[in-house]
Symmetry: C2
Amino acid sequence: MGATLRDVAAMAGVSVKTASNVVNGLAFVKPENVRRVTEAIRALGYQPNMAARNLRTGRTGVICLAVPQLAFNYFGELAEAVMAAAQARGQKVLIELTGGDREHELELLKRPQLSLFDGVLFSPLGMSQEDADQLQTDYPLVLLGERILMGPADHVLMENIGGAKRATEHLIQTGHRRIAVIGARSHDIVGSGPLRVSGYKEALAQAGLPFDEALIVEQDDWHRMGGYVATMELIGRQIEFDAIFALNDELALGALRALYQEQLAVPDAVALVGFDNLVDSQFSMPGLTTVDPCRADIAETALKTLLERICDRRKKKIGPARTIRVSSNLVVRESAPGPNH
Amino acid sequence: MGATLRDVAAMAGVSVKTASNVVNGLAFVKPENVRRVTEAIRALGYQPNMAARNLRTGRTGVICLAVPQLAFNYFGELAEAVMAAAQARGQKVLIELTGGDREHELELLKRPQLSLFDGVLFSPLGMSQEDADQLQTDYPLVLLGERILMGPADHVLMENIGGAKRATEHLIQTGHRRIAVIGARSHDIVGSGPLRVSGYKEALAQAGLPFDEALIVEQDDWHRMGGYVATMELIGRQIEFDAIFALNDELALGALRALYQEQLAVPDAVALVGFDNLVDSQFSMPGLTTVDPCRADIAETALKTLLERICDRRKKKIGPARTIRVSSNLVVRESAPGPNH
DNA sequence: AAGCCTCAGGTAAACGTTGTAACGACTGTT
DNA sequence: AACAGTCGTTACAACGTTTACCTGAGGCTT
């Protein structure tokens, strides 16, 4: 079916290597020959055989993105951001689903289908800090997310503490004093939960507000249902609160539903801020004020880092593991409007 | 880095071919040699080089899934279903985003990065019926969705008419007589919209109920916001209605919000049925009654069909294009409960 | 005992590309 | 006129598999 470079060369009346040079455009080729080869390529509908190229060069132009699930909005949007970044750089993306399962994640790290891709962008969920040394791989690997810190691999993370602090500050600046938190996971040592809570605490401390344990609602399930349940629990506590900082957007969307149901107007009775800036939050009613972790930047940074590693490795250069933090910013919508509202 | 088959063979003291036979397990090899080769593979941590295998066999074990977006829940969940099916068959999936853009879709069809995958699972959005002949490709291609019918490629579609009919019947059986439809797209010739509306009409006709144009709300935007807007428009029409059939789940979720806001209790004042059975619908409040298109079956069927095509093509067998319809079923939740509620 | 299966495994040629080394043809310098 | 340097090109050897094709060694039939 597919025409080969040999066919192209034959048609253009040059050697295979010259044809190859035209395709890759790195050596000096006489304009006349460039023209003839290009013409032959067009005429034959030639497309380079990736398998052969991979075999020869050892590079595939494909990167593997390992995420728990796509149906979770957060990961779906992350994957999309990564793919957009990859497309811009002419890379293909092979997605591998881990299901957030520790065993599966470790298995994937240990026995990757190498030679199918050049490197891995890995967003762990089931693994935790004690598995950190498993991240010492002999292939390029960049980590995403906050499940594991200080590992031996490059790491791109979002500004959890700063973002949470900014969100809380926004609520304080707009006159809220009793700010509840839903979605806390005090049993986690690392992970986004504790980080975001500490950002919240920082903001309180800085504003001279007291930290009230009663305002913190634990909730492991970081989805809509969890947000609903946590908010109902908060309301059930019969304590005063005038704002909620949901540790992620899905929790916030669930909270929104609970507040509606309990006739607590948002933002007038209770202001609400989330974290993640999911597409859904943009279309909720009211629109959700939330911390935008700048997924596009994260994806872009992670991909750039990975590609650098891939490139370095070919030159036998191996630098120390880097940790890069991508700054976030607050998106103000109706659920917690700005001061001059 | 990676050990080669030659290394394995050398260590086991056999020829490369024997080692290869052990790896692929198809020829007769003496148990003793199997043991030695297996041992060598383990000792060296050998992993087959896919690029070389691909080059030799012409198969990659990777299929390409082309979808508009992942951030749209529907496609995210479809992609996930496809990947799950692929994983079960030891296939990898390379995702290509088209953005739902016609130009991009056509480009992808015409110039696929072949030799990077064995076939394509394609879910068009921007293309329409007049582009049908572009689907005549010389590589294995299976179509998903209802944008294009009667094309020259294999096609897996969901049971739109039947599902919509079943949803409407359910509403009728539970005593509803004035069933509104939101999300109609009367300008579309093909596509899920018109099909689902005709299922709705069939159910009405069969029950002897009149079709009332006033109950149909047009809406192009099949997302939450569109559902909200359409429902508000419906309410604004000041006509009687006791149920809403939203043409997809996102519309239904938007409708849910509008109904809450307007204090119309679901399901007591207005029952609501959606279509797609998204994960979100399971966690909405109240849970959404919806038509489950059985995405897992669709994905499984599509993949099976594609793999058959891939296999046939190697044997130079090319059968006629097939169209396979996967049956759907109704998932009854609180937004439109069953008769004995 | 010659012939013929089956089993087991070796040899070497592909697959389509790129990198290496080499070569001829110019240009400009000594 | 000899030399080095650049340009443009080519032949050939990889890359790691799989797969024709071939070779023996047994066991069985004739």
